[in-house]
Point group: C2
Chain length 119, copies 2
DNA sequence: CACTTCCTAAACCAGTTGGTTGACTACAAC
DNA sequence: GTTGTAGTCAACCAACTGGTTTAGGAAGTG
């Protein structure tokens, strides 16, 4: 049982599952409806849904013998929070590096600037 | 060779690799530096880096016998583009559903509202 | 009741993954 | 040259994945 973030990323690493999620943004759907476009068994789709459910990306209710699948879109925030955090951190780093370089009147070149270079 | 988006998601589905990416937002690093905090061999970290590189998340240059690893932060955009697209689509759908419900003077309840129920 | 529909469970299989160990390349320094 | 340091490659292994097939549960319909 890995952490949820890992499960969400792993769940979306599969194109079929990404497609299922994409279609669920338009409307809830049953397993049969979801399986119809793909060239695999409904059992395979059922497995995909189990993965998505374990990641918290979808929930399933019960309605007669059908099991409507519903997207839990809030989980997206988990990913965007992670991504944005480190994207910002990377940007800040580049900004600092850039400022340092202009301060030193050095052209932005591809060398390393790590140590010893600035004697 | 799956599509890049799948590779990026898969790469970030591993906590060790996410941690490596996080640390690379602060500074480039060598394989040895990256491997040091973890209780695994450098070979294992080298493998992780190969996965990240295949996904386009990092690049490696050459500097004496060292192989500095550099984060390619632009790849984040690939993910955010996908996520934001479907997040927005989901939100629009909820908004439409909500508008429809208030228009019908129906309280937002948890039942299915699909058919048959309202006899 | 029997029967069909919708879906899940279990067993199996080939391919991938994340880790190991051991051997190897590349460079630097002695 | 030899030695040491940084890293990769190859073979191996247990565990997981995405698919299959076969069987079965749950709820409507004749």
């Amino acid at each position: 049982m890995p952490d949820q973030l890992s499960q969400v990323f792993a769940a979306l690493a599969d194109p079929t599952r990404r497609d299922i999620v994409a279609r669920l943004t338009l409307a809830d759907a049953t397993v049969g409806e979801l399986a119809e476009p793909y060239d695999v068994s409904t059992q395979a789709v059922s497995k995909h849904l189990k993965v998505l459910e374990a990641a918290g990306l979808v929930s399933r209710s019960r309605e007669a013998q059908r099991r409507p699948v519903h997207l839990e879109a809030e989980v997206f925030d988990l990913m965007t929070a992670w991504i944005e955090r480190y994207r910002r951190q990377a940007e800040e780093r580049y900004a600092r590096l850039d400022a340092l370089l202009t301060e030193m009147n050095v052209e932005t070149s591809t060398d390393t600037t790590r140590d010893g270079e600035a004697s």
